[in-house]
């Protein structure tokens, strides 16, 4: 029976090419957008190299100072604040203080190369899982001595040295020469806490250490001993912030800063206005957006199915005359719809793979490695199937209630 239904489904798809195109386009395009958005989401917030252990990592990347009379300002914290308060926290396993990435210029054979540089401590390399292709990171000694050494990414290595040796060679960035001691895999630009083209010791930026303001151009990355310690670390951080507010009553009325996971930090920055943790709200909004987005092809499918099924009323009548019950008729159209949805799903999968490859190759997102998330694909397909079922069941149910004789006449009633 299933084979017969699929035969019919296939024949109907081929017969009504325009309808088929609209249906398949709706399903596959929806799935493709869902996949690309999720892949981007995963790329920014999911456990990806070098921020693999996201359940043990917290980031401090913003500090808001309220100065009274409704005036407030915010931005990355200063080295002074992070070094004095955050680095000395007791609950974390490790704390790294590093600069935000800054644009710099370099010249190779009189050709300008725009790079991003980041100043880090040695803990940065211990906390994050960089994939070293050559050499090693700089250690405590190099940081202490403010050695002019650099870790570069593979693209910078290629631009500078081609296929020749890189380790021990010199690169010149903003007229400062650095000796290359390590080469790592490219880190996507969306990983703002770890991304750069060139990483050098933080002590080379020591002129900024003297600024005793709370805001500057630095981030902190905190690693917990275990995921269960995260709440304790946040509590300790909150206490620090209260203490900082108390210590600076003249300059600031209130200081707001949080040690957040990546997604929390995003949710706080945008829907939370820098104050509230809006992760649940963000997830709800995203789920709602995905639902509404998927509702469009569903409504489209319902419409198409109604007209498609109406024009097949004679077939429904014949099937009823020869022994199909109403439930059997519903079953047939559901099978057909599931078949169509699966076909759309397959196309959606291929489209997603193509679009993600295009984004990766285009360089729109620097060093992006967007990949297909099979878990999301499975969920997307499941949702499509559910919507496919709904969109097939309703018109089929409507038609199945027709008397066979009315269906044979063309479903005029």
């Amino acid at each position: 029976m299933l084979k017969n239904y699929i035969k019919i489904a296939w024949a109907v798809l081929l017969r009504r090419k325009f309808f088929t195109f609209i249906s398949l386009f709706g399903i596959s395009f929806t799935l493709m957008v869902l996949m690309v958005v999720t892949s981007l989401f995963d790329h920014v917030f999911g456990p990806q190299m070098p921020e693999r252990e996201t359940d043990r990592l917290l980031f401090v990347n913003n500090l808001r100072e309220e100065q009274g009379e409704g005036y407030s300002s915010s931005g990355p914290p200063s080295y002074f604040f992070l070094d004095r308060y955050v680095r000395r926290m007791q609950t974390p396993e490790k704390v790294s203080v590093h600069s935000v990435f800054n644009p710099v210029n370099s010249y190779i054979h009189n050709k300008k190369l725009a790079l991003d540089i980041k100043h880090t401590d040695q803990q940065f390399w211990e906390i994050l899982d960089f994939h070293f292709l050559e050499g090693n990171p700089f250690g405590a000694q190099e940081v202490k001595n403010a050695s002019r050494v650099a870790v570069i990414n593979q693209t910078t290595r290629k631009n500078y040295f081609g296929t020749g040796p890189a380790l021990g060679q010199t690169i010149e960035v903003d007229q400062v020469k650095y000796r290359v001691i390590g080469v790592v895999e490219d880190v996507p630009v969306l990983r703002i806490h770890s991304y750069a083209d060139v990483w050098v010791p933080i002590t080379l930026k020591s002129q900024e250490f003297k600024d005793t303001g709370l805001r500057g151009g630095f981030f902190a990355t905190i690693k917990a001993r275990q995921a269960a310690d995260i709440p304790k670390i946040k509590e300790e951080y909150d206490r620090i912030i209260q203490e900082v507010s108390r210590l600076n009553p003249k300059e600031t009325k209130q200081v707001h800063s949080f040690a957040d996971a990546i997604l929390e930090s995003f949710a706080r920055a945008f829907p939370g206005n820098g104050k509230q943790d809006k992760v649940t709200f963000l997830y709800t909004m995203m789920a709602l957006a995905a639902f509404l987005f998927m509702l469009l092809p569903t409504i489209n499918l319902v419409n198409i199915n109604i007209s498609r099924i109406m024009e097949r009323s004679s077939e429904i009548g014949v099937r009823k005359a020869f022994g199909a019950s109403s439930n059997t008729i519903i079953g047939q159209f559901v099978v057909e719809n599931v078949f169509l949805t699966l076909l759309g799903g397959l196309l959606g999968f291929l489209l997603s793979a193509g679009v993600l490859a295009l984004i990766n190759d285009s360089g729109i997102i620097v060093y992006s490695q967007l990949g297909l998330n099979l878990r999301v694909f499975a969920w997307g397909l499941l949702l499509c199937l559910v919507f496919g079922l709904i969109s097939g069941v309703y018109p089929a149910f409507k038609m199945s209630r027709l008397h066979a004789v009315e269906a044979l006449r063309g479903g005029s009633k």
Binding site: M1, K3, N4, K7, I8, A11, V12, R15, S314, E315, G317, V318, R319, K320, A321, F322, G323, A324, S325, S326, N327, T328, H403, A404, V405, L408
Partner: protein
């Protein structure tokens, strides 16, 4: 085999009430070939649809093999149609997207019959109507007569006890019509299949062994009753 008792069929709209059948009583015996005649709109097809459980009467009851079907569920009615009745329609009602043999297999799809057995029975039915060479064709590739033969094969495939044919020769020329009539007569005479046929064609009707006439929704003549009286 099929008994219609006091069947009434009334079509109602907000403003009009149309009586399609009025107090029809008809008993079709096993092995009979009954033709139903009457002018257009006299209720012949409605009667056949009610007899075939495709439509509900407004009142009265249909009894099949001694069992009233009034309280039957949709599923039970579907099963009765599937096992006991085969339909042949004037406009064939073949499924265009299926091949000839797939069309003929249709009644068997709704039974627990294996795919190979379905195919075997469908091919046997097609052989009976002389269409063994066209099994892979699609309905659009066949002539009207051939399509009606496929429709008869489909009705036969489920080996029903009764075939209900609604003007099976109505869309065919006389040669094709005769061919179809011959097949139906052979089925009745050689295999004992009960057939009820609605027709406009007096010549066709006269070939059957019982003729029931309708006028304005009422049964006005029944040749069996006449014979009985003689």
């Amino acid at each position: 085999m099929i008994q219609l008792q006091d069947i009434e069929k009334v079509y109602r709209t907000k403003t009009i009430e149309t009586v399609a059948l009025h107090r029809v009583n008809l008993h079709v015996e096993r092995g009979e070939f009954v033709s139903i005649m009457g002018p257009s709109g006299c209720g012949k097809s409605t009667l056949l649809n009610i007899m075939g459980l495709l439509d509900d009467p407004s009142s009265g009851q249909v009894i099949i093999d001694g069992q009233p079907v009034k309280t039957h569920s949709d599923k039970q009615l579907a099963r009765l149609r599937n096992e006991k009745i085969g339909f042949v329609f004037q406009s064939y009602h073949l499924i265009h997207d299926l091949s000839v043999v797939d069309n003929v297999e249709l009644p068997l799809l709704y039974r627990n019959v294996s795919a190979s057995e379905r195919r075997k029975r469908a091919l046997a039915a097609l052989e009976k109507v002389g269409l063994s060479a066209r099994t892979k064709h699609f309905p659009s590739q066949l002539s009207g007569g051939q399509r009606q033969r496929v429709a008869i094969a489909r009705a036969l495939a489920g080996q029903p006890e009764i075939i209900l044919a609604d003007e099976p020769t109505g869309n065919l020329d006389s040669v094709m019509g005769d061919e179809i009539m011959d097949i139906l007569l052979r089925l009745n005479q050689e295999e004992g299949t009960t057939i009820v046929m609605v027709t406009h064609d007096e010549n066709m009707a006269l070939k059957t062994n019982r003729l029931v006439r309708f006028f304005d929704g009422q049964q006005v003549a029944d040749s069996r009753l006449v014979e009985a009286q003689i």
